[in-house]
Amino acid sequence: MLSESIYGNYETAWCPGCGNFRILAALKKALVESNLTPHEVIFVSGIGQAAKTPHYLNANLFNGLHGRSLPVATGCRLANHQMPVIVETGDGCTYGEGGNHFLAAIRRNINITLLVHNNQVYGLTKGQASPTSDEGFITKAQPHGVYAAAFNPIAVAVALHAGFVARSFAGFEDHLTEMIKQAISHPGFALVDILQPCVSFNKVNTFAWYKNRCYRLPETYDPTDWSAAILKANEWGDQIPLGVISKNSRPPFEAHFDCLGHTPLARQQVDKAKLKAFITHYR
C-alpha cells in the first residue's frame, strides 16, 4: 500500500492560510489513491505560487516558464505516452500568458491533467488582476476596477469540447481529491479549475465567499450532455457549480500516432534500413 508520506513533506514558500496547502494535500491523496508512485508521474509547471506546488512533492518535475507548461507537458507526453503528465499552474499562468496553449491543448485532446489553482488574482507578483478576476475587482494595477470581462475557463473548455472539464474548491478537500483522481484517469485532456482563496491579495473571493456559493452538481446531472454543460458552464455568481461539468470520449491526441503504439518514443532508435529506404526517394 502506498501512503502519502512517499510524496514527502516539504517546507513551502506560501503564506499561512493559503488555499494552495489544501490543494497540495488533496493532490497527494489523489496520487496515492490512483496508485501512482513518484517516479511514474511527470509534473510540469510554469511560474507563480501555484506552479511551485510540484517542488513540494517527490516527483519528476519540469518547472519551466510562465505560461508555457502546457507545451512542455505536450512534448513530455509525446516523448513518453506511458507516463501520466500533470500540469500545476495558476490562472494567470494558464489563462493569461498561456492562453493560446490552453486552447490548443484542449483542441489536441492530449492526455494531460491540468490543475489550475484559480485564485482570481496574480499572487506571486503581488496582487494584480488575472484573467479570471471579476469585472470591477480593484487592485493597485486596476485602481478603477477591472474593465475587462472575466475569462470563463469552464465555458471555453466546454465550448471547445474538452475531454474532461471539472471545477472544485480548495475548501472541499475530499471533492477536490475525487476530481483530481477522475482527471488523472480520464484518457484525454482533463481540466480541473480549482477555486483557491489567496489570503494575501484577494480580499473579495475568500474562503467564506466561495463556501457560501459553491454547490455540488446533483447525481442526476449528466456531464456527457454537451448542451446542458454549456448552460452549467455559464453559472457563476451566487451559485457556483462544482463537479464534472462536461466530459466526452474523443480519442486522445497520442492515439493518432502509429509510432507511439507500444514503445514510448523515448525508447526508440533510428532504423537505419528504413532511413536508407527513405533516402532512395532522393535518387
Partner: protein, 563 residues
C-alpha cells in the same frame, strides 16, 4: 563536344508549372551525372509574380551560384524582359512563338500546338531535353517518376505531349550552343539544404520536431513529416513558435532528441525558450533559416543578417555553439554534429542557414548511413552517484542526465536558479556555483569546434574571409582572381561560434589584405572576429539586396572597392 558548364534560368509566373519542370530537369541532370547549384527566387504569393529557378550545371563539382546566364527558358515574355541583360552575348532564349521577341538569341517553339496551357511545361521540358542533349530515356523516366503517384491518364497525357514536342524539336535544326558535354551517370542524390538538414537530423537520432510554418524553414519540418510514419518521428505543427520550442524542450526532457526549425521572425518568439534550455540544461537543436528582416522583411529572399541575434538570443549567460553550413553535405553532417553536441553538452545548439542554401538543390554523393552513429540520450541509472542530482556539480559542467520514468530516480529540472537536486533556490552561494558549472561546458564546446577551412595560396595578396552559404561564391571568386595573376586565398567558417583566434589568426596576419565577405549590411561576423582577435578589418564586401553572394558580385565590388 558540348559545354563543360552552363547556367540555365527558368522563369515564369507562379502557377505555370515552372517548379515542376525545373525539378524534373534538375533531377534528370543529377541522374545523368552532372553537378549543379540551384538558386531559387520566388515572390511571396501563390499565383502570378515573377519566379525563377536557376540551375548552374557542370561536368565538375561546383559550389557557387552565378549571375550571368547562358540559357534563359522563358515561360512568359516578362521573364525575357527581366533577364535580357544578364544573358551572355552568345546565349540562348527559349520561348513560345506567341511572344514577338526580336532578340537574336531567341529560339521559338509552338508550345501551344503540343498542349493546352496547363501542360505546356511538359512540352518545354521535351524541347529543353533536346537542346541540352540529354538522354531522352532518362528525362522521360524522371518525368514519370515525378508524376508516379498520379493517375495513369496523367502519365499517358504527359507521354503524348512529351513525344510530340520532342519530335518537333528533333525535326528542327536547333542551335547546339547549350548542349552539354556527356558525362557518366552517377548514383547521386538530389538534395536541397533543408532536406539535407532533415535527413542529417534523423540519422543522428532525431525523434521529435515542433514547428510553426515560416519561409524558408518550413520544408525542414515537412521533410521530417514525410519521413515520420516510416521512421517513427513525431512532427507537430504547434500553435505558435513559443509552443514549438517549449514542446521540443518537453520532449527532450522526457528523453527524445528534439529540434525546432524556423526563420528570424519565428525565432524572435522562441528566444525565451532558448534561455529556458540554457538554464534547465535541456538538449535542443534550433535551426534558423535566415531571410532578410527586420520584421517580416523580404519573406522569400536570402540574407545572413541574424548572426548577432542568434549569438545573443536568450537572457542571462550560458554557453552555446552556432554552426553555419557552407554546402549541402555540411547541412547533413553539421546538423548531425549539432544534435549530438546538444545532447553531450545538454545545451541549446544552433544551425544557421538561409533561404539560398535552404532551397538550393545539388548533386550529393550518397551518405554512408551504416557508418553514422546516433546520439545516445541520457546517462544510465547505474552510473549515477546517489542520491541522484540532476545538476550535480562536475568539472566538465555536464551533469548526469537521467530520463524521467526510466528508473526510480526523480528527475527535477527548474527554470529558476536551482540546487544540485533541481529545486528552486535563492541561496546566492549556490547561484555562483551553478553559473560557473553551466559556463564550464564552454570548454568542452570549444574543444569540438569545426575548424575554418583555408584554401589557396600561402601569404596571399588577398584573403577573403566569409561564413555559411557565402563560402562557395568566395572560393570561386578567389580562384578567378588567381587566374588574373593575384595570389589569393579564402578562409571559410562553417562554425561561427565559439571563435578561437588560435585557429585562424595566423591566416589573417599572413595576408597583405583581408577582405571580409558577408550577406548583411553591417558586417556582423567581421565585428565578431574583430572582437575576438583585436584586429581591425576595414575591407568588406557586403550584400543585402535579398540575393545570394555570387563570384561576380564579389569581384565587381572588389574592383570598385579599391582594396
Amino acid at each position: 563536344m558540348g559545354r563543360q558548364e552552363l547556367h540555365v534560368l527558368i522563369g515564369g509566373e507562379a502557377g505555370q508549372g515552372l517548379v515542376t519542370i525545373a525539378m524534373i530537369l534538375t533531377k534528370a541532370l543529377v541522374r545523368s551525372g552532372y553537378y549543379l547549384v540551384v538558386n531559387q527566387s520566388y515572390q511571396s504569393r501563390i499565383r502570378g509574380g515573377h519566379n525563377t529557378f536557376a540551375i548552374r550545371v557542370s561536368t565538375e563539382e561546383i559550389i557557387a551560384p552565378r549571375q550571368r546566364l547562358d540559357f534563359l527558358v522563358a515561360l512568359n515574355q516578362e521573364t525575357v524582359d527581366w533577364h535580357r541583360t544578364e544573358i551572355a552575348p552568345d546565349g540562348l532564349i527559349l520561348l513560345d512563338e506567341r511572344f514577338a521577341d526580336a532578340d537574336q538569341r531567341c529560339v521559338k517553339a509552338p508550345f501551344k500546338q503540343f498542349a493546352e496551357e496547363k501542360f505546356a511545361n511538359v512540352a518545354y521540358l521535351a524541347v529543353l531535353n533536346k537542346l541540352l542533349g540529354l538522354d531522352e530515356q532518362v528525362v522521360f523516366q524522371t518525368l514519370e517518376d515525378y508524376f508516379g503517384a498520379k493517375k495513369p491518364e496523367v502519365t499517358e497525357k504527359n507521354r503524348q505531349i512529351f513525344s510530340a514536342a520532342y519530335e518537333w524539336a528533333s525535326g528542327r535544326n536547333l542551335p547546339e550552343t547549350v548542349r552539354l558535354a556527356p558525362v557518366a551517370p552517377q548514383e547521386h542524390l538530389m538534395l536541397n539544404g533543408n532536406e539535407a538538414i532533415a535527413l542529417g537530423a534523423i540519422s543522428a537520432g532525431l525523434k521529435f520536431c515542433a514547428f510553426y510554418p515560416m519561409t524558408p524553414a518550413t520544408s525542414i519540418s515537412l521533410t521530417l513529416q514525410a519521413a515520420a510514419d516510416d521512421l517513427g518521428l513525431v512532427v507537430e505543427q504547434a500553435e505558435d513558435e513559443i509552443a514549438a520550442i517549449n514542446m521540443a524542450i518537453g520532449a527532450s526532457y522526457a528523453g527524445v532528441p528534439a529540434m525546432v526549425a524556423t526563420s528570424g521572425g519565428g525565432f524572435a518568439l522562441m528566444v525565451e525558450g532558448v534561455s529556458l534550455a540554457g538554464m534547465t540544461e535541456t538538449p535542443i537543436l534550433i535551426v534558423v533559416a535566415q531571410r532578410p528582416g527586420p520584421a517580416t522583411g523580404l519573406p522569400t529572399r536570402t540574407e545572413q543578417g541574424d548572426l548577432e541575434f542568434i549569438l545573443h538570443a536568450g537572457h542571462g549567460e550560458f554557453p552555446r555553439a552556432i554552426f553555419a553550413p557552407t554546402t549541402i553535405e555540411e547541412c547533413f553532417h553539421l546538423t548531425r554534429k549539432a544534435l549530438i553536441l546538444a545532447e553531450k553538452y545538454q545545451s541549446p545548439i544552433f544551425l544557421l542557414t538561409d533561404q539560398f542554401l535552404a532551397d538550393s538543390y545539388r548533386a550529393v554523393a550518397p551518405f554512408e548511413i551504416d557508418a553514422l552513429d546516433a546520439t545516445s540520450v541520457g546517462s544510465s541509472p547505474e552510473e549515477v552517484s546517489l542520491p541522484y542530482q540532476r545538476y550535480a556539480l562536475t568539472d566538465s559542467g555536464v551533469s548526469p542526465r537521467l530520463l524521467p520514468g526510466q528508473s526510480t530516480h526523480l528527475v527535477v529540472c527548474d527554470s529558476d536558479e536551482h540546487t544540485s537536486d533541481g529545486h528552486i533556490t535563492e541561496d546566492l552561494t549556490v547561484r555562483i556555483l551553478m553559473v560557473e558549472k553551466r559556463l564550464r561546458k564552454s570548454a568542452g564546446l570549444r574543444a569540438e569546434v569545426t575548424l575554418p577551412e583555408y584554401q589557396g595560396d600561402n601569404r596571399p595578396e588577398v584573403l577573403f574571409v566569409t561564413w555559411g552559404s557565402s563560402c562557395g561564391a568566395v572560393v570561386e571568386a578567389a580562384a578567378e582572381l588567381r587566374l588574373r595573376g593575384h595570389r589569393t586565398a579564402a578562409l571559410c567558417f562553417a562554425q561561427v561560434w565559439p571563435l578561437i583566434p588560435d585557429q585562424f589568426l595566423s591566416y589573417l596576419q599572413g595576408a597583405d589584405n583581408v577582405v571580409m565577405v558577408e550577406g548583411n549590411a553591417t558586417a556582423q561576423f567581421t565585428r565578431m572576429i574583430c572582437r575576438e582577435t583585436g584586429l581591425d578589418l576595414p575591407h568588406r564586401i557586403l550584400r543585402y539586396d535579398g540575393l545570394p553572394m555570387t563570384p561576380e558580385y564579389i569581384l565587381g565590388q572588389f574592383q570598385s572597392g579599391g582594396f
